[in-house]
C-alpha cells in the first residue's frame, strides 16, 4: 500500500486531532485509582467535630472516633459478644486490685506523646484527676485520687469518694490519656490534640482534619502515611464518595445502602454489633406512663420482630437493657413480649379499657440521625393504635429532637415516649444503667424508683466482678423488665463501607476504628 502526500496529511491530521482532544480532556478524565493514589485513608464522618480537642469537653460520637486515632488509653476492650470482658493492654502493661479502693497500674515504658514528651505516671495522674472532677467527663464513675508510686506505676484511690476502684478496670479502656503539661495549660488541651496514638494531627483544612503516621508510635509506625477525617453530613454523599474513590471508609449507612454496597466491586461492608441499644423511653413522671401497668401494656402492644425486620442489616435482635457486647447484656427471662391479651388486661386494670380515656400519646423520634427511626416509629404507632392507644408520632430533625429528649430541670418533659439510643465506649454496664434509670440521673425517663436505685447501688458497691454481674443479671434486670421505664427495641449494628483492599482495620463496637496495623493490599 503506497502512501501519498494527501493520505499522509489526512492520517497526520486525524492522529493530531485524537491526541489533541485527549489532551484537552485529560484534566477532566481521571483514572480508576484516583482515590488510592497515595497511602492515605479518607474517613467520611457523619458527624462534625466539636472544635475543642479536650476529650473531657463532649460526649460526641464523631469526636470520640477521632480521638481513637490520636490518643492512647491504658487498656483496650475489643468488645465482642463472645467475651465482652476481654481486656488488651495499651499504655498499661498490667493492673492489680490492691484492695477495694485501690487499683494499681504498671505503665508501658518508652512511649512518647506527639509533641515528643515522654509518657509517665504523671500524665495518668493529671488526666484522671482532671477528668474525674465533678462536671467534667461524663464517663468517670466519680472523683479519683491518683498516687504516683514510681515513674511507671500509679495507684487509683477511690477511698475518699465512696465507690470501689474496680469501676475503673473496664473504664480505663475508654479514657484518653492526655499529657500532664497540656492539662496544666488548659488552652493547649483545647487547641491541639496531643496524644500517644498512631496518628498525629497536623492541620485542619475546612471540614477535613489531617493526621499523619506517628513515627514514634510505641507499637511501631502505622503502615498508612496519612489519615484524613472528613465531615460529610449526607449518607448518600458518603456512599457515592466511597464508590467514586473520594473516601475509603464511610460510616452510618442505612440498611438499603448496606445491601447496595454488597453488590459493588472494589468495596466491602463491615457490620459490627455495637454497644448501643435503641430504646423507647417512657416519661415515667408524666401521665399516663407514671403507671407501670400502662407502660407494660404499651410494651405488650409492640411486636419487636417487625422492628428488627424493618432495621434489616442495621439491627440485631436482643432482649436486654444493655447490648450483648457489654457485660450484663444477656437476654432477660421475663423481658416483655408481644402480648395483646395482656395489654388489654393491663389497660382495663389501669382504668383504660380498650384504651378508652387515655390521653393522646406523643411519641418523639428523629430523622437523619439514626437509621430507620421514622419507619419503625410508624410501625410502633400503628401497633399501639391497634390496642387502643392514640399515638401521635412527632418526627423531628436532629436539632429539634436533641432539644426535647432530656428531662428538663423544671416543668414537664416533652412528649410521652422518646426514641433514643445510648452508645458507650466500654463494656461497663453502669455507663448505661445509671444515667438512664438511677433516680440521681434518670436523664430521659425521669423514673424515681427505690428498688431500681437499691439494685444499682448494690451492684456498684460490689467489688467482686462475678458477684456484681450476678446482681445485675438476677436482681436489676428482672426488676427493669417488670417496671419497664423503657423498652429496649434492639441493638444497633454499625455499618461501615470500606475500600476492599484496605486490610487490617479493627472496628470497635462503639465506633472508633484502629488503623494502626491497616494497609492497602
Amino acid at each position: 500500500m503506497t502512501t501519498t502526500r494527501r493520505s499522509f496529511l489526512k492520517k497526520s491530521a486525524a492522529i493530531t486531532g485524537v491526541a489533541a482532544s485527549s489532551s484537552l480532556l485529560s484534566p477532566f478524565i481521571r483514572t480508576a485509582s484516583a482515590g488510592q493514589s497515595s497511602n492515605s485513608v479518607v474517613f467520611a464522618s457523619g458527624e462534625p467535630l466539636t472544635g475543642n480537642w479536650d476529650p473531657t469537653s463532649h460526649t460526641i460520637l464523631g469526636q470520640i472516633n477521632f480521638e481513637g486515632y490520636v490518643f492512647g488509653r491504658l487498656t483496650q476492650t475489643p468488645m465482642r459478644a463472645e467475651d465482652p470482658s476481654a481486656i488488651e493492654f495499651e499504655l498499661a502493661t498490667s493492673y492489680k486490685l490492691i484492695d477495694e479502693n485501690t487499683l494499681e497500674y504498671t505503665l508501658r515504658q518508652g512511649v512518647t506523646f506527639h509533641n515528643g514528651a515522654p509518657f509517665t505516671a504523671a500524665d495518668v495522674k493529671a488526666t484522671m484527676e482532671y477528668s474525674s472532677q465533678p462536671g467534667k467527663s461524663a464517663w468517670y464513675p466519680g472523683q479519683v485520687d491518683v498516687h504516683v508510686v514510681s515513674d511507671y506505676v500509679v495507684r487509683l484511690d477511690t477511698s475518699a469518694y465512696g465507690y470501689p476502684a474496680s469501676a475503673y478496670i473496664l473504664l480505663a479502656s475508654f479514657l484518653p490519656i492526655m499529657s500532664a503539661a497540656d492539662v496544666a495549660d488548659g488552652d493547649a488541651l483545647s487547641q491541639v490534640p496531643n496524644g500517644t496514638g498512631p496518628f498525629k494531627f497536623v492541620e485542619q483544612r475546612g471540614d477535613e482534619s489531617v493526621l499523619v503516621a506517628f513515627d514514634d508510635y510505641y507499637a511501631g509506625r502505622p503502615m498508612l502515611d496519612e489519615f484524613r477525617f472528613a465531615y460529610m453530613g449526607d449518607a448518600n454523599t458518603r456512599v457515592l464518595a466511597l464508590l467514586g474513590g473520594e473516601a475509603d471508609i464511610i460510616e452510618r449507612l442505612e440498611p438499603e445502602q448496606h445491601d447496595t454496597l454488597l453488590t459493588k466491586e472494589g468495596v466491602r461492608v463491615n457490620r459490627t454489633v455495637s454497644t448501643e441499644n435503641k430504646y423507647l423511653h417512657f416519661r415515667c413522671n408524666k401521665a399516663p406512663f407514671d403507671d407501670p401497668r400502662v407502660r407494660m401494656a404499651a410494651c405488650n402492644a409492640i411486636d419487636r420482630s417487625i422492628i428488627t425486620e424493618v432495621m434489616g442489616a442495621a439491627g440485631h435482635a436482643s432482649s436486654s437493657y444493655v447490648s450483648p457486647v457489654k457485660l450484663g447484656g444477656g437476654d432477660i427471662a421475663n423481658y416483655p413480649t408481644y402480648d395483646p391479651e395482656n395489654c388489654q388486661r393491663l389497660l382495663a386494670e389501669a382504668g383504660f379499657p380498650g384504651g378508652q380515656g387515655l390521653p393522646e400519646i406523643e411519641y418523639i423520634t428523629s430523622t437523619g440521625f439514626y437509621p430507620k427511626t421514622k419507619e419503625y416509629g410508624e410501625v410502633i404507632a400503628a401497633l399501639m393504635a391497634e390496642q387502643g392507644f392514640n399515638v401521635k408520632l412527632t418526627v423531628l430533625e436532629t436539632a429539634a429532637w436533641l432539644e426535647r429528649i432530656y428531662q428538663p430541670e423544671s416543668g414537664e418533659p416533652a412528649g410521652h415516649m422518646v426514641d433514643v439510643g445510648w452508645a458507650t465506649g466500654s463494656p461497663e454496664p453502669d455507663l448505661v444503667l445509671r444515667p438512664m434509670w438511677h433516680s440521681s440521673q434518670s436523664l430521659i425517663t425521669g423514673i424515681k424508683d427505690d428498688e431500681l436505685d437499691a439494685a444499682l447501688d448494690k451492684e456498684q458497691a460490689e467489688g467482686d466482678a462475678a458477684k456484681r454481674l450476678d446482681i445485675i443479671a438476677d436482681e436489676f434486670m428482672p426488676l427493669m423488665a417488670e417496671k419497664v421505664p423503657s423498652l429496649s427495641l434492639f441493638t444497633s449494628v454499625l455499618i461501615h463501607g470500606v475500600r476492599e483492599n484496605l486490610e487490617g482495620a479493627y472496628f470497635y463496637a462503639n465506633g472508633p476504628i484502629d488503623l494502626s496495623k491497616a494497609s492497602y493490599t
Binding site: 462534625p48 466539636t50 472544635g51 449526607d234 457515592l240 473520594e246
Partner: protein, 327 residues
C-alpha cells in the same frame, strides 16, 4: 440619563425594603422553629444553666425586636456577625460542652466570601452549558414551530423539567463518576469537580430556556414588521439575526433574572449538598441543620440583595434594548 437616575433611585429604595422584609421574615422564622442553636453548640449533655448562660451572652433570649434591631445596627456597619458552628479554620464544630462562646468562630462575611467563588464557578458553568444547549435548539424550534425540531425540543424540555435534580445527580454520579470513572464528583479538588454538578444545573435551566426562547422567537416571527422587512428586500436570515433575535432577547433577559435567583436559592443549594461541593449552598444547608442562625441570616440577606440587584440590572438593560419600556 434622568431616566436612569430616577429608575435606580426608585428600584433601589424598593429593593432595600424587600431586603429588610426578607431579613425580618428569616430572622423571625429561625427563632420560632424548634431547635435551640445553643444546644447544638454545647451538646445534649450540657446543663440548662450552661445553655442559658451562653444564650444570654449571645443575646438569644432578648425580645425578637431587640435582637433584630441589634442585627440591623451590626449590618449597617457591614458586620454579619460570627458563625455559631464554623471555626476560623473552616471546620464545623458542635457539641462541645465547654464551648468558648464565639471567640474562635469565623466571621459570616468571611465564610460567604470564601464560598461564593465556588458557587459562582458552578453557576457560571451551569449557565454556560445550558445556553450552549438551549440557544440553538430554542431558536431552531421557534423558527419552525410545527417542525420536527420543535417537537424534539418540546419533548426534551418536558423530560428535563420533570427530572428531580436529586435523582439525576445520584444517577449521574453513579454512571459517570463511579462506573465510567470519567469525572470526579464528591468534594472539590479542582475545576473538574464542577462539571458534573454544573450539568445537573444545566438540565434544569435548559428546560425553561428552550421553551421560553422558542415561544419568544415564534411570537416575534409572526410580527408584521418581519414580513414587511422581507417584502422591502431584506433577507430572512438578516431579519432573524438583526431583528428577531434582538427582540426575542428581552423576555430571555427577564427570564434570566428570575432563573439566576432559582439557581442561587434552589437547585444549586441542593446540588452542592449532594456533591459535597464547598459553595454557598453547602454552607447554608449545613447551617440550617445545625441552627447556625448568623450564617443563615447572612446568606439570606446577601442572596436577596444580589437577586434584587440582578432584577434591577435586567430591567435596566431591557429598557435600553426596547425604549418603550422606559414609559
Amino acid at each position: 440619563m434622568a431616566f436612569v437616575l430616577s429608575f435606580l433611585l426608585r428600584r433601589l429604595s424598593q429593593g432595600l425594603v424587600i431586603i429588610l422584609l426578607v431579613g425580618f421574615v428569616i430572622f423571625s422564622l429561625l427563632r420560632i422553629i424548634p431547635g435551640d442553636p445553643v444546644r447544638m453548640m454545647v451538646g445534649p449533655m450540657a446543663s440548662e444553666e450552661q445553655v442559658e448562660e451562653i444564650a444570654a451572652e449571645l443575646g438569644l433570649r432578648d425580645p425578637m425586636v431587640v435582637q433584630f434591631g441589634r442585627y440591623l445596627f451590626q449590618l449597617s456597619q457591614g458586620d454579619l456577625g460570627k458563625s455559631f458552628i464554623k471555626n476560623k479554620s473552616g471546620a464545623s464544630s458542635a457539641g462541645g460542652r465547654e464551648s468558648q462562646g464565639l471567640d474562635n468562630k469565623a466571621n459570616v462575611l468571611d465564610l460567604i466570601i470564601s464560598t461564593v467563588p465556588f458557587s459562582l464557578q458552578l453557576a457560571g458553568l451551569g449557565i454556560a452549558f445550558a445556553l450552549l444547549f438551549s440557544i440553538p435548539l430554542g431558536i431552531a424550534a421557534g423558527l419552525r414551530p410545527s417542525g420536527i425540531i420543535a417537537k424534539i425540543a418540546f419533548a426534551i424540555s418536558s423530560i428535563f423539567v420533570s427530572l428531580p435534580n436529586i435523582w439525576l445527580a445520584i444517577l449521574l454520579i453513579l454512571v459517570i463518576s463511579t462506573n465510567l470513572q470519567w469525572l470526579p464528583a464528591i468534594g472539590y479538588k479542582g475545576f473538574s469537580y464542577t462539571i458534573l454538578p454544573a450539568i445537573i444545573l444545566a438540565v434544569e435551566l435548559s428546560a425553561v430556556i428552550v421553551r421560553a426562547l422558542s415561544s419568544s422567537v415564534t411570537a416575534i416571527m409572526q410580527e408584521s414588521y418581519v414580513q414587511a422587512g422581507v417584502v422591502r428586500g431584506l433577507s430572512m436570515g438578516h431579519m432573524i439575526r438583526h431583528h428577531v433575535l434582538r427582540n426575542s432577547s428581552i423576555p430571555m433577559l427577564n427570564l434570566f433574572g428570575a432563573q439566576l435567583g432559582g439557581l442561587l436559592l434552589g437547585s444549586m443549594f441542593v446540588v452542592e449538598y449532594i456533591f459535597n461541593y464547598p459553595g454557598l449552598g453547602l454552607l447554608t444547608i449545613n447551617a440550617v441543620f445545625q441552627r447556625d442562625f448568623p450564617v443563615i441570616q447572612g446568606v439570606a440577606i446577601i442572596t436577596t440583595a444580589v437577586l434584587v440587584l440582578i432584577n434591577i440590572i435586567v430591567d435596566l438593560i431591557s429598557a435600553g434594548i426596547d425604549r418603550r419600556l422606559q414609559y
